[in-house]
Symmetry: C2
């Protein structure tokens, strides 16, 4: 990152880790209990959740302005959640490869063109989870290959309808809402092909 | 939630928790190890991170189209992060009260008008963290009251400049990016006062 303005330069001391103990580990996360000194110089205890996967989100865009959502039961929140195709990308793997795999597994689609349009820290008070969001264009159907813990349903719908569902609170997943808003921004700002942008922004 | 279209109706069985053990607890999170049956009927192990706070984000908007960012060292990600004012709101407290407290603590500002414009699940593969995003209007200065673990710097800048920093990857915090994009969407779609929207969208 090179073009940050001067005022963004970090100020003061960061956190100091005095001692740490691993308290839990599974294939997805490691929880570490840390005794630290905060930037104020005061002692502070931290339970840090390290993620072993990147949080990959893929917003598919058909030429006619449609997108795809996938529906699934989420264990953590206890809700049935309609989301853009998402999944974990192992830290050592090119996130684009993971994005292409997730799109195929969850929707049975291949895409001929990919653009990374977001990078995000999801929950930086407790976790170190990092993710990337992609737009996928030039979609063609292939066979879906769901993960063995996943039962997934898909829905093709106009982009604008998906965006409106998100803004009404019906798509609670944050990556989904942020990527729909990012694509809206790109369509408005001339960062997408004009015919596609026009189709995405059209009201039903 | 009442106006969901029929196709959003949950399909199939959800997750079944067979047994669970609490493995870690501090004032912010509880980690529980769960043996479950997935919606496919297969056994699956889950490490569930329960959050004891809501993730509250506040985008301050001055009448001239400026906003405020706050800069701080983040222990989890190891970076110095410029973000909109954010913080944890205890689960039993009205999130608006928490939003008003966070804005005052971190920036020393009071706001005369508040609008909740986002609700989100931040990381639903591992955590049950829920949050709310607010716009704060009609800002006046008061005394800042930072938390004892926080050393916070603030920067007032044009909304459009903040949005562009986010899209360049210089504001990695997800709530910050999503709220800037949400406010952009509202300005474009006529959901904000016309003079404010015009000031926010003006290019520098």
């Amino acid at each position: 990152v090179t073009d940050a303005p001067d005022w963004m330069t970090p100020v003061g001391a960061g956190w100091t880790c005095l001692s740490k103990t691993e308290v839990f580990d599974n294939p997805w996360i490691t929880l570490t209990s840390c005794d630290t000194l905060a930037p104020t110089g005061r002692p502070a205890h931290y339970g840090l959740v390290h993620f072993k996967n990147l949080a990959i989100g893929v917003l598919p865009l058909f030429d006619n302005g449609d997108t795809l959502l996938v529906g699934q039961h989420r264990f953590t929140t206890g809700v049935y959640s309609w989301e853009i195709p998402e999944g974990g990308g192992p830290l050592g793997v090119d996130p684009l490869d993971s994005a292409q795999r997730e799109l195929r597994e969850e929707t049975g689609c291949l895409a001929s063109e990919w653009r990374q349009v977001m990078t995000y820290h999801l929950s930086n008070s407790v976790t170190d989870e990092v993710g990337y969001g992609y737009l996928a264009f030039g979609l063609t159907a292939a066979d879906a290959e769901p993960d063995e813990t996943e039962v997934i349903h898909t829905r093709r719908l106009p982009f604008r309808e998906a965006l409106d569902l998100g803004l009404k609170g019906l798509l609670p997943d944050m990556i989904t809402q942020a990527m729909l808003l990012r694509a809206y921004h790109m369509a408005q700002e001339g960062e997408l092909p004009a015919a596609l942008a026009e189709a995405m922004l059209r009201k039903g």
